[in-house]
Amino acid sequence: MSNRNNQRTRHHTDPSSSRYNNAKYHQRNGGKNNRPEFSRRQIGSDDVDRLMMSVDDDLTTNGKSQEASSRARACKNNGNRRSTRSTPQLRKAHQNQIGWWRIMVQDAGNIGKERVMTALRAHCPRQFQSYHYYIDQKTKAGIFFVNSQQDADMLKRANGKVEVQSLDILRIIVSRVPSPIPSLDEDIRPHFKDYLINRRFDQQIFKLDLTNLADDEELSSFGIFPQFNKQAFIHEIVDILNRDLHMTRQLDLGSNNIVSLQEFRNLKLNDLGLLSVASNLIKNVDEFDNLKHIPHLAHLFIKNNPITLPNNKRNTSSMDNIISTIQQKIPQLKRIDNVDLPPMIRFATDIESISLPASVPHCVPNDMQGFLAKFIDEYYRLFDTRGREELHACYHDVCMFSLCISTADSTIVPTRHFKFGNLVVESRNLQKVIDDKRRMMLLRQGKPTVLEFLRTKFPLTKHDGNSFHVDVLSTANNRAVFTVNGLYREVEQSTNGPVRCFQRTFTCAQTAAGVLIVADHIMISNATDSQVSKINSATPSVTVSTSQPLNTHADLENQMILRFSQESGMNIAYSKLCLQENNWNYDKAAEVFLDAKQKNMIPSEAFYKI
């Protein structure tokens, strides 16, 4: 305690601007000393000293400004004040564990801060420094922070012992927290936003200067304590930028103790051409991956970061390597610091994007469309009925059935995690079921066995006709093999049951008794989020066929006309005429058209499109 009166540093309540009073700042390179600045979390020994000194002068906490500047001063540890750890005070500091503790005084909001704090201080044997006192609106508790273990313990012991002017016994709850500052709450946000727009944004050149936010006294006076090493804070800034400052063309984030650029992945500044992250704490070149989505980012400043400093032992790459690595990550860059980048030669195969052919809803031969639509319609009507009694009419006596469940929680394409419950036991997945006997048993053969399973073991379903895609694989041997892909919901328990994605493969044979199923396979997996929203938004489909017709005759004709019109250049009316005259034989009509065109026999009005 002997250095209490040592005025070697500026008092924390001294309102004169910033740290530039400190002699060390008049060093050549501004006092940064090529040492990484500590992030806010590390409170070094100096702070304790300063705290102990300041307690002497200030026994009560009152007024926002004092707290504000105390936070700005005492919480932040300037790297250049790193002293040797040898004096007795400093050793004591080590024992006196540094960190943050949150002190909650119940009902302090109602009692009043003055009374509470006076009573507390009167009770406590030692003086303690409190930070950031505020009232929690919901619980009306008074909350403040201390950053020494001794203080925290002392306050903990005061629980239930302090009386406030014969009104209440104070209940005090003490807990350890990583940092004192709560995140930007709703009330402060607009101030922050306004501040950024008014004070930091240059309207002429669309430049946003966010350098040194931590030291900004105006911000501190609002109760805003920028902490760029806190993900939540960066998230907030990015939000504000995206929403209110999206026209920003230049952004300067220098001197903000930034370590990670991960949250900048969400930055949507399409006009941003210049970005500076100079004088921060970036150590890893991979952080720059998070900037590659900014389309017009041409100029990037990275100097004065651990990654670029030559005496950083971790840094084994030369500056050239770093520049070239960053250029690879952000190919649109043209300049890094003051180095113009040579245009990057890339591989054409890297630049092109993947394109997959578009999907077609169904693949059903014309002559089967009518029949299939009816069959599927009727089948699922019976299938979606409790008990599935009437299904027996659909199956052949000699038939087989199997259920296969894909239970994999796909990390490649995420699905919803609906449970399958006991149904998994009935699943014949060769990747999961290894035992031969079991495999044989799960392949159900014969109508009674098949029906028994479908009636008793398979949950009640409601299929979504809108989601169906039908493909006919084969019509050989007087049998039809076709697949139905789509979605259904299990409605056993509730109307909001699991949504499954299924592929059903039917093999049907034409018999005297009609078309009967001889083989039936169900493959199911969980639906993806987008599939679930599709099934939820779909209008309730009464029947399958009304919802998505498998290309009615009229549809086919219309499609043909459209195609003919596109390919020939003739308008719809003439295309239709041509097709009709050729009995809807597309190829023949095309021949006739080309022939006539060559002979100049087509009236010009055929090509007039309204």
Partner: protein, 144 residues
Amino acid sequence: MATTSADQQRKSRQDAEAVENFSKRYYDILDTRRHNVDKFYQNQAKLIWNGKEINGQNAIANYLVGLPPTKHYIYALDFFPMKDLFPDEDTTYQVFVSGAVVYGSVDSVTITKEKRLFSHAFILTVDNITSTWVIVNESFRFHE
């Protein structure tokens, strides 16, 4: 069904092995040596790829080769031995696969890859002339 239970088991195991081997090789070829995929198809095969119909061994091979590079992940596999239903016909299986597929070259880091879940059903039979397994018909659909 004059076969004994042991026979049945053995046959069932053989079937399963044949199907498992086939699907493993098929997806492997698709991923690594796609130019050889034509060998898996019968001459008059038919592929329905997300609703698009492609007929004939060569057309199918060309179509598949034209798709971006892939990596397939198989989550479920099942089959029907059609011989049980139609003992007089050639050995035929209906094979059912469910999994995930990633389109995009493995080395490339700059392009965003397309990822899909898929369901695949194919009819597999023996080509009597070459005595090899070949696909006759197949339906491939993304979970959309």
